[in-house]
Amino acid sequence: MRGNRSIVWLSIVLLFAGCVHYPVNPKLSHFDSKAGYRFENLPTTAENSDKVFVVLAFSGGGTRAAALSYGVLKQLSDTTVYVGGKPRRLLDEVDVISSVSGGSFTAAYYALYGDRIFSDFEKRFLKKDIQGALIWRLFSPINWVRMVSSTFSRIDMAAEYYDRYIFDHYTFSDLVKKGRRPFLTINATDMSLGARFEFSQDQFDWLYSDLSGVSIARAVAASSAFPGLLCPITFRNYSHESDYREPGWVKPALHDSTNAPVRYRKALDIRSYGASNDRPYIHLLDGGLSDNIGLRGTLRALESTDGGWSLIRLMNLEKVQKIVVVTVNAQTESKVSWDKHKSSPCLLSVLSVVAVSPMNDYSFDSMLMLKQDVDRLTQDAKTRKDFEELIRKQYPNAKLPGGEQQDVQFYRINVGFDGIENETDRNDFENIETSFSLSSENVDKLCNVGKKLLCESAEFQRLLHDLRQK
């Protein structure tokens, strides 16, 4: 009798577990390359023009990264500049926030709630023991049963928690309805391609899926699904219907791997989503694996006219005068001691290097590429100007092909712990762990140092100088 009862209970549990499924991203009802959450659908306003185009890139690094980027937002809010002779907060001029992992919490919260972030984000996220709350949920018997299911895992449980307690069940459709900048690009990593996957309708077009039906929390969870600790988060990749149109650059790019290898690779990636019979599901991991400072999308926007938003395209259309890129990098230098010992490091040490070193190297490369891109654009403009001046000394009426060129100024601002001069202070910040549970004291310190580092940046001071001339 008791045996029969156990079998009945086990059957009920398995039946329940079988019904548990992560939320499935919806299929598009029809294809419309102009609808949904795209940069072009967030127009300029009286408060935010394209003249001063501000991009913020928030790195990963758990609550440490979220707090540092929050401090930067606070400082931008406290900074008044003049655009077109009118005073405004520099924060209101922010056009794009690109984020990864821990930085995605701050980015998404600001994109959703605007200034409300300054009244309740500390209480709801930064100073809350998120990690403890997630671990506590693992002890719930209901969750044990749910996680028996092959279509529900720890990352789905984390996404549920973020959805309920941080992002109030908001979806990307709510960001579309708000219709105001900044344009939020949360970055994750496509596990099969090892490529950056951004949460925009431009990317979801390739899955023939409607991003409007995806919760913000799920995107943030995907962005912060660190391998090993959390499982990948899964999205449905639907077959393209006959109304689907791929971006116009893909076809020419596929025939030109020699001249434009990056473009070619990107085009292959896009076509791989189209093969939905081979890839009916897409598994996403922490954005840090493909770009831990959220800069790669911005680099692409500075190098190419492809994609949903392109700084080069805005320059060609003569919409921008100043381009400001603020990188908030909460990366720490790991202190190791194995070089002091003659015995070889243990497996755990080796695995930690394998997991973290490539990410740090990649971040360094991204920063270097940003510098090179900005230097190249500045240098090319200067060369043309110098040449024009030189030729006009001989021939005052001479004109170069292509008409008068609009002068675009670039400002590359870095906020990171390597900017802290005092070694003891710098070490204090470097030693703050990567976690979703930090002490209030550490959160306050991180916010304050974010503000301070931004203010002390020579590039930021140059920007303020240029924008404070009424």
Partner: protein
């Protein structure tokens, strides 16, 4: 970075790879590689489109893509 000037007798929006990307007779910054150029409406120009490999240009000496009035 490469540079292109799309020539046409009047000022018109240039459509490159399906997106608005600048104006005729002005130098545009473009990524090296193959691009397809058209003009915005009205369709009073020829040819209908031009496909060009853009490389080895400078800001002083951009590649030229020429459209004529029909």
């Amino acid at each position: 970075m490469e540079y292109v000037k799309v020539k046409f007798p009047e000022s018109r929006i240039v459509i490159m790879d399906g997106e608005e990307n600048g104006n005729t007779n002005r130098t545009m910054d473009v990524e090296q590689g193959t691009h397809i150029f058209k003009l915005a409406d009205p369709k009073d120009y020829k040819p209908r489109q031009r496909k060009r490999v853009i490389k080895d240009t400078t800001k002083v000496n951009p590649a030229e893509v020429i459209f004529e009035r029909k």
